[in-house]
Amino acid sequence: MSPTTIFDPEVIHTIPSQQRLGRKNALQQPRNASQKILAGLLVGSSVVLLFGVMLVLSEIALGLIGLGDDEYIKVDPVLGITHLENKWVDFRHEGFSRAKISSQGLRDVEHQIAKPEGVTRIAFIGDSKTQALQVNIEDTFVRLVEKELNSQAASQKKKFETINFGMSSYGLVQYFVSFLSQVRPYSPDVTVVVYHIFDSTENLPKFGTTSLPAPTLSLNNKDELTIDYNFLDCWLHTDGAKYMIASEWLRRNCHLFQALSADDFMLRSGSKWYMNIVSKLFAPFSGGFQNAMDNVPLAKFGDYERRRRAICEETRTLDRQVSHDNIWTWTVKPRLGDKNASGADGKEDFKLLHDAASADVNLAGRVVRMLNLACRKSGSKLVLVTLPAPDNMVFYFKEIKALKKLAEKEGITVIDANAQFPSLAPMQSSPLYYRSHFSPAGHRKMANIIIEGLKPVLNQ
């Protein structure tokens, strides 16, 4: 019997068992060293080949079934971060959605930059609640507003188009810079800023901050406001930012890499063992990583310095033309018996928080005035939508009151969604939310509130 026939299952069945036993014993005779090495190499290379095949197979499988598209952020030297354009995103951290970021880098359907004839365009600027990764694009309040407006206006032959410029982690400064750099070229007739808690606290970097993935404000000693890119520049030179720039191709195209990055992020915050083990494992390689990151060029962003200068100059110009009056004109008293974190009387701590909040809100008032002026100059009407918050957000409710007062003076429409949503205690669940973002039911409610609020604006 030839050596090859032992590998033929058909032949094996016909070999008498004694013969098979004899062959097995023959197979188990000791071999010489070179044969052992060869066999070992074959085993090793087979294992490597097997793992390689499985890597490719799993990458294909994830692509086919539409999973592992976790990444959606890229570094932007003007706004801090923006979307990866033309990228499918599969989001399941809260709620679930799978949708493609448009070619213009918006979490929306494709839009032409030039406004079509006869169309009323409404731009929505906001943070993650507007971006709404938790639901599919068609279920976001931005798209629902467009559908419903077109449905209501069908008989009048009016056409509406909404565009979603929402991006997670954005604050008021980014809304403003986003309007100047991204939104204005689309010539919106109405600009809706979806305002939320902490949007005003991110205007100025807090004490101890050295870098931020966002532009901030700065006030000089003449009380002149402009956009400050120093903190963003510091962040752009951090290893984290450079890693994001260097790995952009993998984050766009490799499902396994994206899944691994997302798992790494989750485990770093959730597992002490992971942090300890990974940091020790990679400590020997950190020097090489550092060197590699030092070589990442920022020149790939093109002439961003010119764009920044234009924005800073326009900001200064607008600031000179608007009122600097404070909009926060109350003193909020602490509740009796409030304690601080160490259990002592909380009056002093409350005063510090109060003073910080009022300063932030007064600055926010200036930015809103500048935004309003910029909108009017480009033929757009500014609308503010104040999002709902849990019922212990005392300062936020005062902020809404302040913004409403400002809006009355400046002719800005405010849609107070907070007043129209059911009040919620902190951590209380509701079918309108997943965890902290709207569920599809919440988006429908928001859409209805915004449509009602926009009617007077659209009829003007």
């Binding site: 044969q35 793992f51 197979l57 999973l67 485990l267």
Partner: protein, 513 residues
Amino acid sequence: MLFNSFEYLVFLPVVVLAYWLVPRQVKPVLLIAASYFFYMYSFKVYGLLLLGLTAANYVLGLLVSRFERLDARRLILVAGIALNLSMLALFKYTNFILDSINTSCAWLGRFMAFPLDKGVGISDLPIILPLGISFFVFEFIHYLVDIYKGSKPVKNPLRFALFASFFPSQIAGPIKRYQDFDKQLDEKPQVTFDQFSSGLFLIAQGLFKKTALGDNLAPVVKAGFDNPNLMGTFEGWLCITAFAFQIYYDFSGYTDIGRGSAKLLGYSLPENFNMPYIASSLREFWHRWHMSLSTWLRDYLFIPLGGSRGQEAQTYANLITTMLLGGLWHGASWTFVLWGLFHGVGLAINRAWDKQLQNAPALSRAVNSVFGLALAHAITLVTVLCGWVLFRAKTVPEAIGVFKAMFTPCVAQIDCEVANAFFNSPVPAAICVYFFIVGGAAVVKLIERNAGDSYDSAQNLPGLDLKSFANTRWHFAIMPLPAMAHIGFSFFIGLVLLAFCRGESQPFIYFQF
């Protein structure tokens, strides 16, 4: 420590490697230490509970076997069972009893215009349920009862401690029989390459079931049970079917990981599931679902109560009592009691029906026809699904709400998220991948069966026995193909799982029992 955590991913290989490197005499000690580390990772103090109960049951086992007089043996047995059950009752049922007293007084107060219409004001005690207590208490009771019946006790305290604490089955079963486990300690510790690779594959499969399937079904179930009044008929059935598979993938996934981990150490744990949803009767369902629990209930509750030895009415009562207590074992809530009662009554009806069939050959023929069998499967599935409503609901009104949705023809309200949650989830994709994995494993088994001795790779770890490779040009074809396929599939599952575990990680459902 959770099986689906990074910590376990580090813990298991370290323990397995250490286990195969240490001398034979040290292996049990290493496993006991690892098991206690595993158990005490979440709550250190409960390691003392496990240690205390282990020591107590070890001594009681020796005492039971020591005495010749039946009444003395019985007394010690009763004391042992009382000790174990009292620990279970203390940690698991104290707050349930207090809540029930409170609620009953409040109800009586309103009904009879009593001064206690707001309850007796008892608040819950701050008791945290020790993980796995329901499982290891049952193992201890089985041990004492079997010794009372004549089995030999475990004399070596280390062997008994290992039986009690063995980490692959410590927290959520399967409920082991000490005779089967102890026998394995007598054998020479060894594992073949095939067993090792199939253990790895079992772990990977279990993780996939739990993470990709079970966890991704959880939002569907939550959407339904949180707002049952929003569901329509379709959503009601979709929700409870999702739960049926969530609990199956969750629990069987956990069991697979436990059995796979045990295999890596050369141990064999009993199977716990055998495709339960293809059962054609409730009786068959309980032969396929949580098999280690149903056999325990049969041997240590149903049979001691009288089993089926007495009259039919008594048998039905025994069935109902057994299942009612089995329901209570699952959780300290009236919905679990109702679930147990539901299955008890169902089994009694099943038994009565079987008796009827014995006396009616024509009916029996009809039942065994294709149509009859299909109907039997459908009725069983619907019955099981209805039972799961009681199991999952936190309160009776919640269960009623889900039943209303299931059995009242209606359309869902616009805010109902059940269908949206299912069709937008990765579950359909996970099912496709699962079929691929299961199909691949079946092909591997086919090759294994047909390949015969040429693929025999019975070598002992550590290291491969390179002598088995033929001295021909076709060296690579002698590779242990089934084992390599298992490893390849395990690697594939591990990679794909990186993308599946994006959402919220759900705790294992059976951890709460």
